[in-house]
């Protein structure tokens, strides 16, 4: 230390600098505060897509145009109140649902190939994003996404509302050799997905794991024992390409958004 700086800033600082344990403890406290303040409330505040595990929510403050609260089962699919009782019956607009077995297998491939490094799944509430991609994303839409896939970079376009925009055949061609369909694309060729069969054991275990999550598990009323038992048949003869396409086609059409309603209040 230089001579002009011999005076210590405070006696307390001097004490900290002489005591390893004191410095360790104070540092450990100082670095903990910000994270606690920003993270913990997201586990209990409304509109954070947090499910109690038994279908109970922290509440919603989404209001319709008359100012009435929109019931949560209009946003998140609840098989007990919905007209459609099983994953197979579920229709777009019924509300957010977990992935089917085939989509789960596809999601695994999506993560494995690092797709999230170039494609986001989070549309922001801007005019250009609405025009380009569709309605902005809301918290509930990714509540079953264990290991969220919002991404941080759009080397390719956002795909949060990709489901139903293109045909399966277009996806197959595009995934195999992207430049056959979009000449300017810089996406790698994923032709090899067409040759690999989905991993049935892994996928079924994934479904089971999803029901055991401490936060936002998939309710057993959706992944019923019967559904998990039937998953093997659903996956029979499917390639990884089929699975990825199923996953992509499932994105973004779960919630029926009402015109004029603010879902970000």
């Amino acid at each position: 230390m230089s001579d002009h700086d011999k005076i210590y800033s405070t006696k307390f600082q001097d004490k900290i600098e002489r005591n390893t344990l004191l410095m360790f403890v104070l540092t450990a406290i100082a670095v903990a505060v910000g994270g606690i303040v920003e993270i913990v409330p997201l586990f209990y505040l409304p509109n954070t897509g947090m499910n109690g595990g038994d279908g109970t929510f922290n509440g919603t403050s989404h209001k319709d145009l008359q100012g009435n609260a929109i019931p949560m089962d209009k946003i998140v699919w609840n098989p007990t109140t919905s007209a459609h009782k099983t994953l197979a019956d579920w229709q777009p607009g019924d509300g957010v649902r977990p992935y089917t077995a085939l989509e789960t297998a596809g999601r695994h491939v999506y993560i494995r190939e690092g797709c999230f490094l170039c494609h986001s799944q989070m549309i922001r509430p801007f005019r250009d994003e609405k025009d380009r991609y569709g309605h902005y994303s809301i918290a509930e839409e990714s509540m079953y996404d264990h290991t969220y896939q919002w991404g941080s970079k759009r080397t390719g376009p956002d795909i949060a509302r990709l489901g139903g925009k293109y045909s399966d055949e277009w996806h197959r061609k595009h995934l195999k050799y992207p430049r056959d369909v979009v000449p300017e694309s810089v996406m790698p060729n994923f032709f090899f997905l067409d040759k690999a069969m989905v991993d049935k054991t892994k996928t079924i275990k994934t479904l089971e794991v999803m029901t055991k999550m401490p936060f936002n598990p998939v309710p057993k009323t959706i992944y019923t024992d019967a559904y998990i038992a039937g998953a093997a048949a659903e996956l029979e003869g499917k390639t990884e390409m089929d699975a990825v396409i199923a996953y992509l086609q499932s994105l973004g059409n779960h919630v029926k958004f009402e015109e004029g309603v603010n879902y970000r209040d």
């Binding site: 230390m1 002489r18 897509g49 490094l117 941080s152 970079k153 080397t155 892994k202």
Partner: protein, 476 residues
């Protein structure tokens, strides 16, 4: 800084030597993979239809290699060096330090195997499989325990400022790694985070930004506070500023992660809070940068002849620049444009190439001379490395700034009919020249790392040869 003691302490420097050599090698490897993935984005045929080397699998290998292999070995080499010398003591446990060394390198080898195979947890900078995560926790704690215990057995009265920063890093990275990596395994290869959606996103960026804030900044500020005074032969400019720098950074940096999630499905207050604290962080960051730079007051002329000092001081300039760039990007209206674009990539690399790598190169050269008790094989090559690295870094960063802002503007542009002017793919093809420029900039930077490797190898060989001759002479 160091206590002057009557009998010189015998330090445990072999461990530092090994970490130093590893760092120099990983510097070459990590940036080389980066160059390759950069070329893949410019010329996609380079994916060669081989799944293991596609962009999606190699990019995590690049980030893991530069952050954990290169950055980690630099931090451990400099950390074990500084903590011994500023405390005038040997390591608390030399054996545990070797456990850290072999453990860390085993993790790096496992990353090289698992990431190209597609084992990914799907979280940026935390892709490694769950069982490697457990190994990371164990090895990291062995480093942390050893470090803090060595501070505990120091012979000097005060803990030196570098060690405050490193201690902050050790504690915070432990929190981050443990909380962010909590997952339920499906099998040996795959696991899924126990959090989902909003909560997972916030925890991920709490991890992501603080890996930058505490590991790539805090830890490297520890390097700055030791090696700039040492290399320039001047005391730290202001002790008080360093106290301010440390406590504000330690308390404040933690809050910044939320600025990665502005305008997403998170409640708005989170992003706004992140933005506000991000802006406030200009003060400690610039205070710290000034503290490093002004340490040279009275010794600026040394920059003309001391090439190692050039690295260290240029690093401070990039640190100041990046810590201005960052808060600007955290302003919500700017972030609306910059988020999802290459601007972020440019910002990260201004920090990684300009600040973190430059301060590392300076510190590594300084240590090589001390550890092998020799001059560099070629000072001229050090100077060439400096200019090559600087040109490479600036080329890279400028390319990404331009492409990022251009992307952001193209995406939101409307024509006179009120429809979007550009399709997405038009923005992709507009990026091509900048992707080429970025890859070339990266390649230039990588060339510098090779020059360093050559110079360090030759220096060590030369030093060993001299020592051999001396040993023979001594026997005779």
């Amino acid at each position: 800084m160091e206590a002057t003691q009557a009998t010189p302490v015998k330090y445990d420097m072999d461990i530092v030597r090994w970490f130093t050599i590893a760092a120099v090698i990983y510097g070459v490897v990590g940036t080389l993979i980066g160059v390759y993935v950069a070329f893949e984005l410019a010329f996609p045929f380079l994916n060669f239809d081989i799944p293991q080397i596609t962009f999606g699998r190699l990019r995590p290998l690049h980030t893991n290699a530069v952050i954990f292999a290169f950055g980690g070995c630099v931090l451990m080499a400099t950390g074990f060096y500084i903590v011994q010398r500023t405390g005038a003591t040997k390591l608390w446990s030399n054996t545990m330090a070797w456990f850290t060394f072999w453990g860390w390198n085993l993790i790096i080898v496992l990353a090289v195997i698992t990431l190209p195979l597609g084992l990914s947890e799907g979280k940026e900078y935390a892709e490694l499989p769950w069982w490697v995560d457990i190994m990371i926790a164990v090895v990291w704690l062995s480093y942390g325990l050893n470090y803090i215990m060595t501070i505990g057995i120091r012979k000097t009265s005060h803990i030196y400022v570098s060690n405050w920063f490193t201690m902050g890093m050790i504690v915070m990275i432990t929190y981050l790694h443990v909380v962010n990596s909590l997952a339920i395994p499906v099998d040996w290869a795959t696991s899924y985070s126990i959090y989902s959606g909003v909560q997972d996103a916030m925890i991920q960026w709490w991890w992501g930004h603080n890996a930058v804030g505490f590991y790539l900044t805090g830890g490297f500020l520890g390097i700055m506070y030791y090696f700039i005074p040492k290399q320039s032969g001047r005391p730290v400019f202001s002790y008080r500023l360093s106290v301010l720098h440390f406590w504000t950074l330690t308390f404040g940096y933690v809050w910044l992660g939320a600025h990665h999630l502005q305008y997403t499905a998170l409640p708005d207050w989170t992003g706004s809070l992140g933005a506000a604290v991000s802006l406030a962080m200009i003060i400690p960051s610039w205070g710290g940068a000034m503290n490093g730079m002004m340490t040279l007051s009275g010794a600026w002329d040394k920059l003309r002849t001391d090439y190692i000092l050039r690295f260290l001081v240029t690093a401070m300039a990039f640190y100041a620049m990046s810590t201005f760039d960052g808060p600007v990007m955290a302003i919500k209206s700017v972030n609306a444009l910059s988020h999802y674009t290459d601007w972020t990539v440019g910002h990260v690399h201004a920090g990684a190439l300009g600040w973190m790598s430059m301060i590392s190169f300076g510190a590594l050269y300084h240590m090589v001379k001390k550890l092998w008790n020799t001059e560099m094989y070629s000072d001229r090559l050090v100077n060439i490395h400096f200019w090559v690295a600087l040109i490479g870094a600036v080329t890279y960063v400028v390319a990404m700034w331009v492409s990022g802002i251009m992307q952001g503007l193209m995406w939101r542009d409307y024509d006179e009919f009120g429809t979007l002017t550009y399709t997405f793919v038009e923005s992709v093809s507009a990026m091509h020249p900048y992707y080429v420029m970025r890859a070339v900039g990266g390649a230039i930077f990588n060339l510098g790392a090779w020059i360093m490797l050559f110079n360090v190898v030759m220096t060590i060989r030369q030093a060993s040869a001299v020592r051999g001759v001396n040993a023979v002479a001594a026997k005779a």
